[in-house]
């Protein structure tokens, strides 16, 4: 558990020089009261004496009351701290020459970040896209490894890659720039306040002007209450025959907000006034204003209440507060009076009217604003349709973040300590996956006459070498925050287990190579208790004796069982454990065909080392955590461990590329423009209940499941369901092919596929990778005929 520095509600400094005065002040009053009592020792008359006693008592009670209120004020405003939910950030986009980022991708990222598209970028958070160029001014941001300052950049593209980054300030090209990371959500209590704290110096001057013009014109002049405006309100109330109008100052509103009781009784009003005076006594105007700006309620997002202008700017405009335009500021200020009544999404006309009133009040209060106000009045509302932050937007990924954080942090710290969590989330991959799910599932249902809405899905996308989770799809509706299938739905993985069977054979003591012949014929496995198991191939088609690599290419069940029973099921369990499986499945023969229920996240974990040269790292969604003031709390450093010999991984990569080239995943070639160099494995379970696909290129891997929540047959094979969603996702992100070339300890040889015998330099052969220390024992007759010199030549040519 981490020690977390609390966020002070107001700066301590304020309490110091003012609160220190308080005891003396109170003491002074009290001593005056007691000296009065002495002088009343000899009363001239009983009535007089009684009156004086009542006065003293009243004074003591009043002083006591004030003191009690003062304790309340101090406790509420300085002892307590803001409850600030943890803020979750996406990965920052790195811009550099050669990066696989197209102009559209960059523009999309900038929009996610809340950058404004303008004609001529003039300040941070603005950009312009024209053809194969994007001109932007980035925002400053403090990263773990240093500050990234705001900079102007001209990004030039060459097709779908960045060609150059030109820095107009220095008139030179730069090699690297990092954008600020997108804010993708927050971790707040199930029913609770959400806010982003701002300091007064971050707040635009216009906001303060608008607020004061609208809510409390004499804010800088009064002592917490404003008799003039109270008088005005009183007149109005007498006319209305009840309490209709408040003459509340900003200070009073702040006090009211903190004591959560909005009853408008006279006692309350009196208390509020006294506490406002006390608050002004203890704190400066600036401190009160800052607290107000962070406290005020400005909207409701489901169970989450939006507090403070910092979050409101993100919630309504998807922009940091500093970057709001005048008409946007005025809209927020207008909402202070009633965020629900003036909700610009539900009552746009009312909100617009109120906004323009605020603008008018600004111009009336200070002629300096007059000109800007006029142009602001003609602006549209400009609110975003739906906020990108809040867990409502990416609930599946946020849930994974939360799960991983809970190993190190307590729930209440996450919900209240204002932690900043820097994740591995890639908004562009997530968007591609969500779009793929939305379009493809409906299409599948229509094509196959399935009930509309019957299919469900889940997926996990991650980087290969660094094992960072890029995107999580928890179900068909990406906004639904309920059941997260990517993390929680455990389904039989079917044929997705086969690479582990082959891997165990390649590394085992039996001496198997990819060219070893295996039996693909109907097989009967005796089970304990006299029962028998007769696994069947898909379509009951059997291939006879084939090289072991055909197991993965055509997903041969019978051959898998033949191979698996030879090496033993425990060897397969051991292999799965090495790949990172956290559970310990029973070594039943049915495991060989994937009678193992795992979530898509777990499957992605098993495939990660396959895609990363045999080196495993638990899939991670978090890079680092900072506290509320930006001090580093924790890094999640990169570490890897070997789960499988690198040559074995290379052999499997080749094998799974064959699956895409000519096997069960060959449809990928028409599902996406570039399928060369991709590796994959389909998975289908009994009666077509689960459709799986796991695949990877050199930089990314993805695992997708499609099926039904009720576990009824979905009517889809791995290739006809999950693989399509996978392909739709991967074709719109920068998936790169697996690099050619074998690692040390692996080499190419030619074999005769009918016999599995080594046949370098012969005709009618297939080229297969082998571990250097494990070549086929048999050599084809044609090899022995050839002279070694000739063979060497061919060999060199092959290399």
């Amino acid at each position: 558990m981490q020690a977390i520095k609390p966020v002070p509600l107001l700066e301590w400094r304020g309490i110091f020089h003012r609160a220190a005065l308080l005891p003396f002040m109170v003491q002074k009053k009290a001593s005056r009261a007691s000296s009065k009592r002495k002088s009343k020792a000899k009363p001239k008359s009983k009535l007089w004496w009684l009156l004086s006693q009542v006065t003293v008592l009243a004074a003591v009670v009043a002083v006591g009351w004030v003191v009690w209120l003062d304790i309340q004020v101090l406790r509420e405003f300085s002892g307590k701290k803001w409850s600030v939910p943890a803020r979750v950030y996406a990965r920052p986009m790195e811009l550099y020459p050669g990066a696989a980022i197209s102009p559209d991708m960059l523009a999309r990222e900038l929009l996610v970040l809340g950058y404004r598209e303008v004609k001529t970028p003039s300040r941070a958070g603005q950009f312009k896209k024209s053809g194969s160029q994007v001109h932007l001014i980035s925002r400053p941001f403090r990263f773990w490894d240093g500050d990234e300052s705001a900079r102007e950049l001209n990004v030039r593209f060459d097709g779908d890659r960045i060609a150059a980054l030109f820095d107009p300030a220095s008139r030179s090209n730069t090699s690297l720039a990092r954008l600020d990371p997108a804010l993708i959500g927050s971790i707040y209590p199930s029913h609770g306040e959400d806010r982003i704290l701002v300091r007064l110096d971050q707040v635009p001057e216009a906001l303060v002007s608008a607020l004061i013009a609208t809510e409390d014109r004499r804010f800088y002049d009064h002592w917490g209450v404003d008799p003039k405006s109270i008088g005005r309100a009183l007149v109005a109330n007498v006319r209305a025959g009840g309490v209709a109008q408040g003459g509340s100052t900003i200070t009073q509103q702040l006090v009211k907000n903190f004591f959560l009781d909005s009853r408008r009784t006279l006692v309350r009003k009196a208390n509020e006034a006294i506490m406002s005076l006390l608050l002004e006594l203890h704190f400066s105007k600036e401190e009160i204003l800052e607290a107000y700006l962070n406290e005020i309620y400005l909207g409701q997002d489901g169970a989450r209440s939006i507090h403070g202008f910092g979050l409101a700017a993100w919630y309504w405009f998807q922009t940091p507060l500093e970057e709001l335009a005048l008409h946007e500021i005025a809209l927020l200020v207008g909402m202070v009076k009633g965020p629900s009544y003036y909700n610009p999404r539900r009552a746009p006309e009312r909100a617009l009217k109120r906004r323009n009133l605020v603008l008018q009040l600004m111009a009336d209060g200070s002629p300096a604003w007059a000109e800007e106000v006029e142009s602001a009045k003609s602006q549209p509302l400009d609110i975003v349709e739906r906020s990108v932050i809040g867990t409502s937007r990416h609930p599946a990924f946020i849930q994974l973040v939360r799960q991983q954080l809970q190993r190190d942090y307590r729930s209440q710290d996450l919900e209240s300590e204002g932690l900043r969590i820097y994740t591995t989330f890639d908004p562009l991959v997530q968007r591609a996956a969500e779009q793929a799910v939305r379009e493809r599932l409906t299409q599948l249902e229509q094509e196959r006459n399935l009930a509309i809405g019957s299919l469900q899905t889940a997926g996990v996308f991650a980087t290969t070498e660094t094992a960072e989770v890029l995107a999580v799809v928890g179900g068909r509706d990406p906004r639904a925050s309920g059941f997260n299938r990517a993390l929680m739905a455990k389904r039989p993985i079917g044929s997705l287990v086969k690479p582990a069977v082959v891997a165990a054979a390649l590394a085992g003591p039996e001496g198997y190579t990819l060219a070893s012949l295996v039996n693909d014929e109907p097989v009967t496995v005796p089970l304990p208790g006299g029962r028998e198991w007769q696994p069947k191939n898909y379509g009951e088609r059997y291939w006879g004796k084939v090289p072991a690599y055909e197991i993965l290419v055509h997903s041969l069940n019978a051959a898998t069982v033949d191979l698996g029973m030879t090496i033993g099921v425990p060897a397969v369990v051991a292999q799965l454990r090495q790949l990172g499986l956290s559970e310990d499945p029973e070594p039943f023969p049915s495991l060989l065909l994937g009678a193992l229920e795992l979530s898509p996240l777990q499957v992605a974990g098993l495939y990660q080392p396959l895609a990363a040269g045999g080196y495993q790292r638990p899939l991670s969604a978090i890079r680092e955590v900072r506290d509320a003031v930006g001090a580093p709390l924790q890094r999640y450093p990169l570490d890897v461990k070997q789960a499988m010999a690198t040559p074995v991984a290379a052999l499997l990569n080749w094998n799974m590329q064959q699956t895409v080239e000519r096997g069960t995943a060959r449809a990928l070639s028409w599902l996406m423009p570039e399928s060369a160099g991709l590796a994959g494995k389909t998975g289908t379970t009994n009666d077509l209940r689960d459709s799986w696909f796991a695949g990877f290129g050199s930089n990314m891997l993805g695992v997708v499941w499609v099926g039904r929540d009720d576990n009824e047959p979905a009517g889809l094979t791995g290739a006809s369901g999950a693989m399509r969603v996978w392909a739709d996702t991967m074709k719109s992100v920068a998936l790169e092919p697996i690099v050619t070339g074998l690692p040390n300890g692996a080499e190419w040889h030619a074999i005769k596929p009918e016999t599995g015998a080594l046949a370098d330099g012969c005709a009618d052969t297939t080229r297969v990778p082998f571990m250097s220390n494990r070549l086929p024992l048999e050599q084809d007759a044609c090899m022995q005929k050839d002279a070694p010199g000739f063979l060497k030549k061919i060999f060199n040519w092959l290399e």
Binding site: W12, I15, F16, A19, A20, L22, P23, F24, V26, Q27, K29, A30, V60, V63, G64, V67, I71, E94, Y96, P97, G98, A99, F143, W144, D145, G146, S175, L176, T463, T464, E465, T466, E468, G613, G614, Y615, R623, E624, P632, R635, P637, L638, D639, V640, K641, Q642, T646, S698, N699, V739, T740, G741, L742, P743, N744, E747, E799
Partner: protein, 159 residues
């Protein structure tokens, strides 16, 4: 009624003062107490062994683009200033741009070694050597085997 309050407040003020003083001290202490500061950088040129110089001219040989290259330089700068975790962050950043570069994995291994985590260093170094393929140029292979030998010599005392 007011007297206990005044004492209470006085104590509170004293407490605040103390807390402020303590937190101030903690902050100053923290800034100077960066872990790893003062340790010799195995990647710096003044290391007591003949180190293959790492220079811009080697960029093409290392098969690294200018961006990861710049990040390696940044990692060096952080390290020399005693900011070890910032240095690690820069290396990891470089790794994200060039995830199959054996050089970057070696550098990360070296950093872990300098932090005293020799087991992690060993794992990362193994990972680095696993990325050498038949297509890696002979010069890089030579360079990396040199690094490998050095790392092994560093790791030996722990074994």
């Amino acid at each position: 009624m007011s007297k206990p309050l005044s004492v209470f407040s006085f104590r509170l003020v004293a407490l605040w003062l103390l807390a402020l003083l303590l937190s101030g001290c903690a902050t100053f202490g923290g800034a100077g107490g960066q872990q790893g500061a003062g340790k010799t950088n195995p990647w710096a040129s003044q290391a007591p062994y003949e180190w293959p110089p790492y220079q811009q001219s080697d960029a093409s040989d290392l098969a690294l683009g200018p961006a990861p290259q710049a990040l390696l330089a940044e990692a060096d700068a952080h390290y020399e200033a005693g900011r070890v975790s910032a240095s690690a962050a820069s290396l990891e950043r470089a790794l994200r741009l060039a995830p199959r570069s054996p050089v970057v994995w070696y550098r990360l291994a070296g950093l872990r070694a300098s932090q005293g985590d020799l087991a992690a260093a060993n794992r990362l170094a193994e990972k680095a050597s696993s990325l050498v393929t038949t297509e890696t140029s002979p010069r890089i292979r030579q360079w990396l085997s040199w690094l490998d030998d050095w790392l092994i010599s560093q790791l030996r005392p722990a074994a």
